[in-house]
């Protein structure tokens, strides 16, 4: 079948990407770094395996989601390997777990329509996860959004996002009149409040984005959207006046060098890294990722752009949009309203995440502590991303 030939070409292109990046890393050190080649082989095997399972046993679903995640994984792990090999190894483990979860979801889940009725369960879980960090959380990187249970630490708001989307999908699927919006509105506001209290403004922005998108999709009424934006504006102004940490973020965004030695350092370094790299980058291994703080998660985009160039930065943004497009497409063709809203919710979640973090590190919007899906290091981040994509993949099967 003709289509199959192009798909396998795409797969081969991804192999080439993987070996090109790891090949550069191989040649970087003296003597040559065979670990890089091993990594490349492992990753290629992993995503090939995942690809085969999905395509062979579930040929009706979307074929691009798994391929795009492979591209992101390759870019991410190669960059992490460049920064610190032990982190890269951990990321491979998370990638494996993520892929496994992805496949498990597609294989094991029954038709998602049946989950639509657990509205109250989702609501409670959302509130629990959103509030968890406020009550038993610790501060990490300026936001109080980390919870440690024994040896395992995680970001509860990430899981909260998953239940948030599920709750909104189940609450909005039966929308007929304004009264039906009151309960979800309350939950949304409580969630946003928790995020603001935890000073996790990036997540707050993402939740807002998800909520407003799902609102518009289910009600088709633009006036609700306008009202929400006005509320956002009001909320933003109030929080600016009320919370010093918001003022700090805005001031640093406008001029990171004004507080270079303290709060502005991160953004300033990110901008300088990107500017120094130029369009074609400094070259793999010729950049200075050690100068950029939080380089393995929040600022990984800056590290990539410094060494590989701004052109690659554009490419990554385009790829994320294509992923978003494929995810939304699944929502278009499916019949059941709950599944549609769920797919929209998770797709928007990923898209907003990308916009907020890339926007933040290039200085388009104030900086927040968000990760770049799949590329950034982080177990919670990976799992959330693959979970959402798995659900979307499953939904696309039914479409």
């Amino acid at each position: 079948m003709k289509g199959k030939r192009w798909e396998s070409r795409l797969l081969i292109a991804t192999y080439v990407l993987c070996f090109a990046m790891f090949g550069s890393l191989y040649l970087l050190k003296e003597p040559y770094d065979t670990g890089a080649v091993v990594m490349a082989v492992i990753i290629c095997l992993l995503f090939t395996y995942g690809y085969i399972i999905i395509r062979k046993f579930f040929p009706d679903g979307d074929k691009f989601i798994i391929m795009f995640t492979a591209v992101f994984a390759v870019i991410g792990i190669a960059t992490l390997y460049r920064i610190d090999t032990s982190v890269a190894i951990k990321q491979v483990v998370w990638y494996t777990i993520g892929m496994t979860g992805f496949i498990a979801l597609v294989v094991l889940l029954p038709d998602l329509k049946s989950f639509g009725k657990y509205k109250y369960f989702f609501m409670i879980m959302t509130l629990i996860f959103m509030g968890m960090a406020t009550f038993i959380g610790q501060e990490k990187n300026g936001s109080k959004n980390w919870v440690a249970l024994g040896p395992i630490g995680f970001q509860p708001s990430e899981f909260g996002k998953i239940f948030f989307c599920a709750y909104l999908a189940s609450a909005l699927k039966d929308y007929k009149k304004f009264k039906d919006l009151i309960q979800p509105a309350v939950i949304v506001m409580i969630s946003l409040l928790f995020m603001v209290l935890q000073t996790d403004l990036g997540s707050a922005l993402i939740f807002f984005g998800i909520a407003i998108t799902m609102l518009y999709i289910s009600t088709s009424k633009s006036k609700y959207v306008v009202i929400c934006f006005l509320l956002l504006a009001v909320g933003a102004v109030i929080s600016y006046k009320l919370f010093p940490h918001v003022r700090v973020r805005v001031n640093i965004w406008l001029n990171p060098w004004s507080d270079y030695d303290n709060k502005g350092y991160q953004l300033a370094q990110s901008l300088m890294a990107i500017a120094t790299g130029g369009f074609l980058g400094s070259g793999i291994g010729l950049g200075y990722p050690e100068l950029v703080p939080v380089q393995i998660s929040d600022f990984i985009f800056s590290v990539i752009v410094e060494e590989l160039g701004i052109i690659v930065g554009f490419g990554i943004i385009i790829l994320y949009f294509l992923l978003f497009y494929r995810c939304m497409r699944a929502a278009i063709f499916v019949q059941d309203r709950f599944s549609q809203l769920l797919a929209v919710g998770y797709s928007t979640m990923i898209a907003c995440q990308v916009l907020v973090i890339i926007g933040g590190v290039i200085g388009a919007i104030p900086l927040t502590g968000i990760t770049l899906p799949i590329i950034s290091y982080g177990g919670t981040s990976m799992l959330t991303a693959f979970f959402s994509l798995g659900i979307i993949q499953k939904i696309s099967e039914d479409a």
Binding site: M272, I274, A275, G283, G313, I318, M328, V344, I362
Partner: protein, 477 residues
């Protein structure tokens, strides 16, 4: 179900716009702000990239090195200024903390050539890439003369500057400014340097603005000869002072003496103020200003690698006769840099053609290959050879029988003009006047034109002329 699909498509389009906006901002940032951000002095990446290239050397005209760069480790190098304090203002310094000045600044790109690795450079031999040395620059400066000039200034114990140029090609042979400072010890001395009221950071030769005093009479003479037919034959009765209707002011000769009936030549070599005050009034401010501007007063002199502060000649209302008179003798609001006055001397020496002053003659690659030769360039014909010759004669008389005899050197025909310039503090008798000397030698085929100023040094004929003698002797040794 389908209305949801339409909504979803709308949302897709909105997000498409958001992503495009992101890419647009990204492009804007890179294209508009990228270079500025990358060159931010706090960007250690650029410093590290630059440090991959060992900074090039600055040589004097005879190939003696005035700077030295030593590689300390993979990412740092040390810059030493081995020429001595005399060269500090010319060379400047290159410091991550205090910035870059002088030729270290204007020729930074050449000195660090190769550190702007282009994309294609990556394909070149990496071993060569790892041991890059920047280009070198060769100055027109003569080290012996430079050191002599600087030492002479220091021996006066006062602030001042000396400029020596070759009138035929504009090559700057010496450019000294006192006080100077040690560029090797910036960190240690910075507090002292910046709080010193004598302001050692200023290169007085290029930036110092002083009333030129009687040295300006050269220009007044040019203006007179050009505008007033037969001026050199007319006689003038010097009574020792000029009075002005409606004012209390009198313009006196130095020392109050009167020379009686004199011509232009005698007025010149005896530096008679009344003559030139009167001449300025006859010329009118407009004509004298015109001539001054031909000599590049009020203009920017385009030079490579250094900046000369434009000298100033004022526009004076025709009713303001005292100022017009004073402008003829180089007072009023006239301000000139030593470089400007050296160019005046060199123009007369060079038959009326002013040559563009240059400090750097060649740029040489680290392997000794000449990359660029800076050519001689005339700035223009300022006055005729005939007039230049006449004035050359007058200036010779200044040294043989006029106010500048202290500058005479046996065996060399020195030409000059002294100046004793009043300034704010000398008028109130708080300090002595500025001592000036401009001149060139030898008369028939000038090789060197100079300007010397000693701030608050007294009379030009003593302090400055004496130094001129030393300089000419040193130049022709």
């Amino acid at each position: 179900m389908n209305d949801l699909s339409i909504n979803i498509k709308k949302v897709l389009i909105i997000f498409l716009f958001l992503f495009l906006a992101l890419i647009s901002y990204f492009s804007y940032f890179v294209i508009v702000k990228g270079e500025e951000v990358a060159n931010n002095p706090r960007n250690q990446r650029l410093a590290a990239k630059r440090n991959a290239v060992l900074r090039g050397t600055i040589y004097d005209r005879d190939g003696n090195a005035l700077t030295k760069s030593i590689r300390v480790d993979r990412s740092t190098q040390k810059r030493e200024y081995i020429g001595g304090l005399a060269f500090t203002h010319i060379i400047g310094y290159n410091s991550t903390k205090y910035g870059r000045t002088g030729l270290e600044e204007t020729y930074d790109k050449e000195l660090m050539a190769g550190s702007e690795f282009s994309f294609l450079d990556r394909f070149k031999d990496s071993h060569k890439l790892k041991n890059q040395v920047g280009n070198s620059i060769k100055l027109t400066i003569n080290s012996q003369l430079q050191n002599l000039a600087y030492d002479q200034l220091r021996s006066t114990g006062k602030n001042g500057a000396i400029v020596a140029i070759n009138p035929k090609n504009g090559e700057i042979l010496a450019l000294a400014s006192n006080p100077s400072y040690d560029a090797n010890n910036l960190e240690k001395d910075w507090q002292a340097i910046t709080s010193d009221s004598n302001k050692p950071l200023i290169n007085r030769a290029l930036s110092g603005m002083y009333p030129p005093g009687s040295t300006f009479k050269v220009i007044t003479t040019v203006s007179g000869l050009e505008n007033l037919e037969g001026l050199d034959y007319k006689m003038f009765n010097d009574t020792g002072k000029l009075t002005f209707k409606g004012t209390n002011y009198t313009l006196k000769n130095y020392g109050g003496s009167a020379t009686g009936k004199i011509n232009l030549e005698k007025a010149f070599y005896k530096s008679v103020n009344t003559y030139f005050g009167n001449l300025a009034m006859e010329l009118t401010n407009r004509k004298l200003k015109n001539t001054a501007e031909k000599f590049y007063f009020n203009q920017k002199i385009e030079t490579e690698g250094f900046f000369i502060n434009p000298s100033k000649f004022p526009e004076i209302a025709s009713s303001d006769i005292t100022n017009i008179a004073q402008s003829g003798i180089g007072q009023s609001e006239i301000l000139a840099t030593p470089m400007q006055m050296a160019l005046v001397a060199s123009t007369i020496a060079n038959d009326g053609v002013m040559m563009k002053p240059k400090l750097v003659s060649e740029i040489i690659s680290s392997e000794g290959e000449t990359l660029k030769v800076i050519p001689d360039e005339p700035l223009g014909r300022v006055t005729s050879k005939e007039i230049a010759d006449k004035i050359t004669g007058y200036m010779r008389k200044v040294v043989t029988q006029g106010t500048g005899t202290a500058a005479s050197v046996s065996g060399i025909e020195v030409c000059g003009k002294t100046g004793t310039a009043d300034h704010a503090r000398s008028i109130t008798n708080e300090a002595a006047a500025h001592a000036w000397f401009i001149g060139f030698a030898p008369q028939d085929d000038p090789q060197i034109a100079i300007a010397i100023i000693v701030e608050e040094g007294g009379t030009g004929g003593t302090t400055a002329a004496r130094i001129a003698k030393q300089i000419f002797q040193g130049a022709f040794k």
